[in-house]
């Protein structure tokens, strides 16, 4: 068990070091997220009375698209020069590889989410002051399940052959329950001033648990060519 944790931190450290060295992923993904917020801001006529309760729509759109790009790039590091085969040859459990990648993805998504949310608050004058922690909590929880399926499918779906967008295609429909639940929860909190309600939270948590476990199990199966 300690060995696994050691290996996970070794792998995550390697990923973050590569990221720091190349700065490829974070920069691109953050900028994409901000761009999406800007496009939506312009398109929705933000601050001209058109945006209103568009907060979750804007943020989820930005998170989903930049998230998918993020997953593609972190797995792309392993695809180049078949580095993944090097990992598979080592005495490392496949689930260790999965969790390490998941943690890397979550860390990067956190950076992106912070910047994108800040941009949203700025451009749309979103008022999160009523319940900032509940907002952060709901979105972060949703991020976990999303990253789990994203990590799983980024290992199977290769976008190297002019088929960019395949990962997005795969992951988006799966993530829709997250969008619905978090939106409904946030509507209840911010628009109706109520408590978020057990159902939405239950769905998000169920999503996380089911997809964490499913991705963990399936990761090993899909890695065996």
């Amino acid at each position: 068990m300690t060995r696994s944790i050691q290996q996970i931190s070794l792998l995550v450290g390697k990923d973050l070091r590569i990221e720091a060295r190349s700065r490829q992923t974070v920069g691109l993904v953050v900028v994409l997220g901000v761009l999406i917020v800007v496009v939506l801001g312009l398109g929705l006529g933000a601050q001209q009375g058109g945006a209103g309760l568009a907060a979750t729509a804007v943020l989820w759109t930005a998170y989903l698209f930049s998230g998918v790009l993020c997953f593609e790039k972190t797995m792309g590091v392993e695809r180049a020069d078949a580095a993944l085969a090097g990992l598979l040859m080592a005495p490392v459990d496949r689930s260790v590889i999965f969790f390490a990648k998941l943690i890397t993805n979550l860390a990067l998504m956190l950076c992106v989410a912070s910047v994108v949310t800040a941009a949203g608050v700025l451009f749309f004058s979103f008022d999160l002051s009523a319940a900032p922690w509940r907002f952060a909590g709901i979105m972060s929880l949703g991020m976990i399940g999303f990253a789990a399926v994203g990590t799983l499918f980024s290992a199977v779906v290769s976008s190297t052959r002019l088929q960019g967008g395949l990962l997005a295609l795969t992951v988006f429909p799966l993530a829709l329950p997250l969008v619905i639940s978090s939106t409904q929860a946030l509507l209840r909190i911010f628009r109706d001033g109520e408590d978020m309600g057990a159902q939405a939270l239950a769905v998000i948590i169920a999503f996380d648990v089911i997809f964490l476990v499913a991705s963990w199990v399936l990761f090993e199966w899909v890695l065996e060519p």
Partner: protein, 234 residues
């Protein structure tokens, strides 16, 4: 699975068509018209059996996907894609009948009601399954990705259902069914389910045959070149 004789196939489809015809007659003539909603309610006889069969088809995709992942035998994959295509077909019917009902009963083609949203999301989930299959070139990859997605998508279905239920339902529907209506509804399940099974099996054979043909044609060409045809001094 060997292709059964042409006789059997013909009888099967004749039976299905006959039952479908009888079902339509029952729905139009035998079942009474519901008071509040009028004749459009009869679309329900098509809607509900299609919905159940959609679910059955997608469950088949789930099981076949697991089968493929565990056994790696290509017939699981053929079954999964056959069931997915059939499922999308029936899901389209569910979606369309739902929309028609909504338009006639309440005047708009679309509302984000729990039922319609659920149908739409389900439809999207499995249309994407088909799109993924057509986007991945390598046969082996295709099987793996489809199987993984087929499993995860089915696990997503209850979550989609639960989250769709959180949406506001402007037109809640509760239909009380008279005994004749129940009978008609029950009868409709026969042709629809036969259609479902028949389509899945037919598509399965089509896929299996296509795969067999493909394996025959992909071999390496003879290695030696015919250099003497270049002639002298080329």
């Amino acid at each position: 699975m060997k292709t059964p004789g042409k006789m059997v196939i013909a009888i099967y489809w004749a039976l299905t068509a006959g039952l479908l015809g009888a079902a339509v007659v029952l729905a139009l003539l035998y079942a009474p018209t519901e008071e509040t909603m009028g004749p459009v309610q009869k679309i329900f006889y098509l809607h509900l059996p299609s919905a159940i069969n959609t679910f059955l088809a997608f469950m088949t995709v789930f099981i076949a996907s697991i089968g493929y992942l565990v056994q790696r035998k290509s017939w699981w994959d053929d079954l999964a894609s056959a069931a997915a295509k059939t499922g999308v077909f029936f899901c389209s019917i569910v979606l369309l009948t739902g929309m028609i009902w909504g338009k006639i009963a309440w005047g708009s083609w679309w509302t984000w009601s729990p039922r319609l949203t659920f149908s739409l999301l389900l439809w999207l989930l499995y249309v994407v399954y088909l799109l993924i299959r057509s986007s991945v070139d390598s046969e082996q990859r295709k099987g793996m990705v489809s199987a993984a997605y087929g499993i995860v998508a089915f696990l997503d279905v209850p979550l989609v259902y639960l989250s769709a239920r959180m949406l506001p339902d402007i037109h809640p529907q509760s239909i009380t069914l008279a005994p004749e209506m129940k009978m008609t509804l029950g009868f409709w399940f026969l042709p629809i389910t036969l259609l479902n099974a028949g389509l899945i099996v037919t598509m399965y054979w089509v896929h299996a045959k296509r795969r067999a043909n493909r394996n025959v044609t992909e071999t390496e060409a003879p290695r030696a070149m015919n250099l003497e045809l270049l002639g002298k001094g080329t």
